[in-house]
Assembly symmetry: C3
Homo-oligomer: 159 residues x 3
C-alpha cells in the first residue's frame, strides 16, 4: 500500500499500549506505508535512554519527576494487572514462551525501518525531559506541526 | 451514509469503554455504515464465552492468566470508580433505571447487525486465548490485515 | 489549513488527557481547522460548572454519582501518578514554572475560539447530568449525530 500514511499520537506510557503502537508502526513500514509517531506526556518515557538520564539543569520537581517515571521502554508498567510488576513479569514470560519480540525490539525495529519519531515540545518543557536524554533521531515539534502531519495522513490513532 | 466505513481497534478490556465502542458500532450499522472491530490485548476478554473457557493445552502462565482475566462482556470492570465492583453495580443500576441496554445486549446487537469481528493473532498467542473460547464469528487476523482494513476506512478509532 | 475538520471524542475524565485534547483543539482553531468535540461518559465531568451542580430531580444513585465525580476541569485527576492529588499538584507546579496555561485556560480558549461542544445524550441520561449543570454552549446530541460529524472530518481521535 504505497502512498499511504499513518500518524500515531503516543500519549500513554504503558508497556502493552506501547507494544500495540509499535507493532502497528513496524507492520505499516513493512507494507511501505509511511509512519509518524508523535510522543506526548507519558509517551515520552518510552524514548528515554536509561544511561543518558541526567539531573543537571533541572528544578527540584523535575528531578523528582525524572526519578519517579520509567526510564526507557523496558521499564514501562502494564496498563492492567501490573501488580507491582508481577503481572508484567508473567506477561513477559508468556511473550518469551511464544518467541515474540520484546518492546525494546519493536522500538529498535521501528527506528531501523525509518519510522519518523517526533516529541511534543510543550510536554518536554513541562516534564523537564531534555532532548539529550531521549533517542537521538527524535524531532522536537509543536502541536501545530503534529496536526499538519496528522491531517495529511490516511489514518490517525491516539494511544 | 452508504459506502462509508468505520474501523475500531478495541484494545481496552473495560465495561464503559466497550460500551462506548459497541454503541458506536450499533449506531453506525443502523446508518448503513460498514463496521470492522479489531480486538487486541485486553479487548479480547470481551469476546470470551464464559461457558467455553478451557484450561486444556495451556501453559501454567496461560492458565493463571485465563483465570485472572474477565470471562466475557458482563465481567469487565469499569475504567474508573470500579471500587471492587461497587461502582459498576451502581452504574448498572443507573443504566437499568434509564431502561438502557446492558453491554451484552449491545454486543449481541452488533453480532446480529453484521459488524465484522476480528481478533489479533499475536495477542491470542501471547495471552493463550484459543479460537474456540471466543465468539464463533471471530476472524483471527494479523496486524497487516487490520491495517489494510483501517486504511480503507473513513474513520479509525483506538479504544 | 482551511476546509479541514477535526473530530475529537472525549471519553476520559482525566486532567492530562483533557489537556492533550484541548491543546489540539486550540491549536487546530488557530490553524483555521474546524473542531468538534464530543463529550461522553467521564469526559462530561470536564464541562461541569462547579457552582451549577444540583441535587434536584436526581435519583439516589445519581446524587451519589454526582457527589463522587469531579466537578469541572480543575478537579479532574491525573491518569498516572495522581497519588491522591500530590502528583497532580507537582505537575501543576511544573506547568506554572514553565508559564504554561492550566486546563481551565485551554477550555476557555477553546470556547472563545469557537470549538463546537457536543455532549452525548445517553451518557448524560445514565450519569444523571442535567443540561443546566454543564457549560451553556453544549449541544446535546446522539451517537448518530456524532458519527455523521466524525465521518465528514479529516481526522478523528478517541481520547
Amino acid at each position: 500500500m504505497e502512498n499511504k500514511k499513518i500518524n500515531i499520537l503516543m500519549f500513554s506510557g504503558e508497556y502493552d499500549k506501547a507494544m500495540a503502537a509499535l507493532i502497528l508502526a513496524n507492520s505499516a513500514k513493512e507494507m511501505d506505508v509511511e509512519v509518524t509517531m508523535f510522543f506526548a506526556f507519558w509517551g515520552l518515557c518510552l524514548l528515554r535512554e536509561p544511561e543518558k538520564v541526567t539531573m543537571d539543569n533541572k528544578t527540584m520537581y523535575e528531578k523528582m519527576f525524572s526519578a519517579m517515571t520509567p526510564k526507557g521502554a523496558e521499564q514501562l508498567p502494564l496498563s492492567k494487572m501490573n501488580f507491582s510488576g508481577i503481572g508484567k513479569e508473567m506477561m513477559l514470560d508468556m511473550i518469551n514462551d511464544n518467541e515474540a519480540p520484546r518492546l525494546i525490539d519493536f522500538l529498535n525495529g521501528a527506528r531501523k525501518k525509518g519510522v519518523r519519531f517526533c516529541g511534543c515540545k510543550l510536554s518536554m518543557d513541562i516534564m523537564g525531559f531534555k532532548e539529550e536524554e531521549l533517542i537521538p533521531e527524535l524531532e522536537v515539534i509543536d502541536a501545530k506541526t503534529y496536526l499538519s502531519d496528522a491531517l495529511e495522513s490516511d489514518m490517525q490513532l491516539f494511544i
